[in-house]
């Protein structure tokens, strides 16, 4: 028995091989796995490490197989199950005709197709990066040596990072939308969780894998059939959990912002903990997606204990289902499942994990979280009542200390938050994928039935993960570029002192000085430009949203945060008691182009329109006035014809005409 580890991630390493290039070098390769490869072509012997047998994963559908040594069968079968779950589109869907055409290579194209950024591959290629890691016989030898000697899955990602990012998991349109990097990450995590919670047993000389008392020998027995197969029930039930990590605390002191640091730190520690990290499929600063066994095996409260101990409240959406029914588009699957006559198992619940709150609390309540008894704390002659949890958070340090010192007369500050809306993300991904299936030239000769099946069989989890990675990249680029913006005098608009990131490593949140509307517009412009650069295909329904709350420095922090936490559109700005605006990117571009702050007459006209709207409660009356003045103010007519209301135009005008302070 070989003592080296079995590395599930290596099952797809062959996808990094450039078969065309090797064919020209005289090496004949069929498919992306090498279990049938003629090693004499390279003058080397067949590898024999456990990981080598991952090459057989497409061949092994049962523990009764005799194609590989018996002791490797369980790992290979689990890899196969994980591989299928991790794929964005099941490979078994579609008509025979479509599958044959796909096998024949009709839909194969080079490089990954990023749904929200279709030019990504071309741009990376122009930078000199390449998808293939193995293009020569010598490099192919290196690959087999790597398979033979690789000691950990992290080596796979370290060594082939760039190639894995540019190679799709499946090279055929429309399957080519997930990077191999993410696919392998996901496959590896799922494989390790399945392995951790199952064990191999032998019964009457037969090999089984058992999880929670359910013995299986084949993939179908474990995972079940497709959703439209009412009798193909899978025995293994797992959960996909979307966790929204919230807190009850209010921000009345700057130190209360430490709760954000606490959350970021906890999520990071959680997703790096050796015992836990494989449960975490992906995460952002306020969200985690977990893959976990049933409650009998892993209690969610136990798993999330570090968060609950720190006072966080976790609202989670839990899908518990047979493995093959699990998908991150939970609501869609739930509706589909219940529209079919079936005896299979799929449940969807909304739940909350929270610390144990007592049934009664003697006054006073904690001023911050309002969930526990508050003890008297006196600092700088100010008396407050805080529970131990909130007090400890206050003691974590003084974030945004500079902000407290912003005392320039008339200075206003903007609180900024960039948010990724997970629900909108799913909708956007579906829209982009369906558009891809419908409109790509290669799909024009595919039957409408096959297209329908391709859409129905879409599992967006891996695509979501790729999106989240690009989102994090956008945040980092924003943080870098904000300090590079220059004004007309070639001076930097923001410095580290005037644009603060109060919480280290939490790049969604910043506070900056607003000397004039130029500061605000620079931030908005940068956001729009980066959105266009990284997510050009979702400018209309972007799940990434920016909120700005602009007020004097002493304005209640809690009120800033309330606005920032609830974005209504892609761009959201408020200046309390003055203006509140929620618009999309196209509307912003239009307003930016058409509204000039110097135009005083326009302001008077906008105010008059708003008065008419309030008095008459009639849009007709407002439109009549606009049409009457169309020669004088053609801009207003154009803007309203593009879906902007008079109030939105006025609010934008107000937000961008603020006088400059020295």
């Amino acid at each position: 028995m070989n003592n080296k580890p079995f590395i599930a991630e290596l099952h797809d390493i062959g996808k990094l091989v450039d078969r065309q290039a090797l064919k020209q070098a005289g090496i004949d390769i069929k498919g992306h796995t090498f279990h049938k490869f003629d090693f004499s072509q390279l003058g080397i012997s067949t590898p024999f490490s456990p990981s080598w047998y991952a090459q057989f994963s497409d061949e092994i559908g049962s523990l009764t197989s005799t194609k590989v040594p018996r002791n490797y069968l369980p790992d290979i079968l689990l890899t196969r199950i994980a591989d299928e779950l991790a794929s964005a589109i099941s490979r078994t869907w579609g008509s025979k005709e479509f599958q044959n055409r796909k096998k024949g290579g009709e839909f194969v194209v080079e490089g990954i197709y990023v749904l929200w950024n279709p030019n990504y591959y071309q741009r990376e290629k122009e930078k000199g990066k390449k998808w293939a890691a193995f293009t020569t016989p010598s490099e192919l030898k290196d690959m087999f040596e790597f398979i033979e000697n690789c000691a950990s899955y992290t080596e796979v990602f370290e060594q082939f990072r760039d190639n894995l990012k540019l190679t799709p998991e499946d090279k055929s349109i429309p399957f080519n939308i997930v990077s191999l990097y993410t696919h392998l990450e996901l496959t590896g995590k799922i494989y390790r969780i399945l392995k951790r919670h199952s064990h191999v047993i032998e019964d009457n000389g037969k090999l089984y894998l058992e999880y929670l008392g359910k013995k299986i020998q084949t993939i179908n027995e474990a995972a079940g059939g497709r959703i439209d197969k009412p009798t193909q029930r899978g025995k293994w039930i797992y959960r996909l959990v979307f966790c929204y990590i919230n807190f009850p605390h209010s921000f009345s002191r700057l130190q209360d912002l430490n709760i954000l640091r606490k959350r970021t730190d906890l999520i990071e520690a959680f997703s790096e903990d050796v015992k836990i990290k494989d449960y975490v499929l992906f995460f952002t600063d306020d969200f985690m997606c977990l893959f976990v066994p049933k409650e009998d095996e892993v209690r969610i409260h136990d798993l999330l204990e570090p968060f609950l101990k720190a006072g966080f409240i976790i609202d989670y959406k839990e899908m518990e289902a047979e493995l093959n029914l699990l998908t991150s588009s939970m609501e869609r699957a739930y509706e589909k499942f219940h529209s079919l006559p079936t005896r299979r198992y799929l449940k969807l619940c909304e739940k909350r994990a929270a610390p144990d709150f007592p049934s009664q609390v003697c006054p006073p309540l904690c001023d911050s979280c309002q969930m526990r008894h508050g003890k008297e704390r006196i600092k700088d002659h100010i008396r407050e009542y805080l529970c131990d949890t909130c007090y400890n958070i206050r003691q974590m340090g003084e974030p945004a200390r500079e902000y407290a010192g912003w005392e320039e007369k008339g200075l206003r500050a903007a609180w900024m938050k960039i948010t990724l809306d997970q629900e909108q993300l799913l909708k956007t991904i579906y829209r982009l994928y369906e558009k891809y299936v419908e409109t790509h030239p290669a799909m024009q000769n595919v039957s409408s039935n096959d297209k329908k099946v391709l859409k129905e069989s879409f599992r967006p989890l891996a695509v979501q993960i790729d999106f989240v990675k690009d989102y994090k990249l956008l945040l980092m680029t924003f943080k870098k570029k904000i300090y590079q913006i220059k004004n007309s005098k070639e001076q930097f608009i923001f410095t580290k002192e005037s644009f603060l990131y109060p919480i280290e490593n939490y790049n969604e949140f910043a506070i900056f000085k607003v000397y004039s509307s130029k500061n605000v517009l620079s931030v908005l412009d940068l956001f729009c430009n980066l959105l266009k650069e990284y997510f050009s295909q979702c400018l209309e329904d972007s799940p990434i949203k920016l909120s700005l709350s602009i007020a004097h420095v002493k304005y209640p922090y809690q009120e800033h945060w309330r606005f920032l936490s609830n974005p209504q559109n892609i761009i959201n700005i408020q200046s309390p008691r003055s203006a509140k605006l929620s618009i999309d990117i196209a509307q912003y571009k239009l307003l930016r182009e058409k509204i000039r702050k110097e135009d005083q007459k326009l302001a008077h006209f906008l105010h008059r329109l708003v008065d008419i709207e309030v008095e008459t409660k009639s849009n007709m009356a407002v439109m009549f006035e606009i049409l009457n003045n169309r020669r004088k103010f053609p801009t207003i007519l154009e803007l309203t014809q593009n879906g902007l209301s008079v109030r939105q135009i006025l609010d934008f005008y107000k937000l961008t005409r603020e006088a400059e302070i020295s």
């Binding site: 739930y334 619940c349 929270a354 006054p363 001023d367 309002q370 209640p556 009120e559």
Partner: protein, 214 residues
């Protein structure tokens, strides 16, 4: 449809400005809530109608209100000076609305049945009454026999009032605390269900149906 064995008296409340405060969260800002918790109405009905332990809950009607901020400096009676100014959030009529309107549902029983005689009465509710806030008109609309529904709670009520309100199952509790008077001068905070909790109970308490498993 499952009809509950409970009868509620539906009352309509209208006002020009009202501030039902979240508990003071430190600092100088006092946010207000958009529902009327049972604890607030209990005090109000006790003061105005002499009802010791009435059970009623209220919800401001969407589209009738918007939020604004009122800043004032409370007086320190001892020192005879003004304290730090406080910003109080309150509800005022939305553009185009004549008044902020709320629906109040009081559980009908021997004590509360007289509420059905109210054609229109002035009451005061919430904070800063001395500044003119919370002057409300209350009028009786009619009896309601709610159906049973599963969905998201839209108000705030004490956990131990659930049975009385006809809540038969709490699927997802979102806890907070409401003040409960235990004597003339003091009280405690009791655990309560807040907005967003998922319950099976009378439809009048439900904001939106919950479509999944419990």
């Amino acid at each position: 449809m499952n009809v509950l064995n409970k009868v509620f008296l539906h009352l309509e409340l209208s006002t020009q400005a009202i501030a039902i405060g979240e508990r003071i969260k430190g600092g100088t800002f006092r946010p207000c809530v958009e529902t009327i918790p049972t604890s607030t109405l209990k005090g109000c009905f006790r003061d105005h109608f002499g009802l010791a332990n009435s059970l009623a809950i209220g919800f401001f009607r969407e589209g009738t209100y918007k939020k604004d901020i009122f800043t004032y400096a409370p007086n320190d009676a001892f020192l005879g000076t003004a304290k730090l100014p406080i910003s109080l959030e309150y509800l005022k009529p939305a553009s185009g609305a004549e008044a902020v309107v709320a629906d109040i549902y009081a559980l009908k029983n021997g004590k509360t049945k007289d509420l059905s005689n109210i054609s229109s009465i002035e009451i005061s509710l919430g904070a800063l009454k001395s500044k003119g806030f919370g002057r409300c008109k209350l009028r009786y609309i009619g009896e309601v026999k709610p159906s049973l529904k599963i969905g998201y709670l839209k108000g705030r009520l004490l956990e131990d009032e659930c049975d009385a309100f006809g809540i038969i199952k709490i699927i997802k509790p979102c806890y907070g605390y409401l003040f409960y008077l235990t004597s003339e001068v003091g009280g405690i905070y009791k655990r309560a269900l807040f907005e967003g909790s998922i319950i099976e109970g009378p439809d009048i308490l439900i904001r939106e149906e919950y479509k999944y498993d419990s």
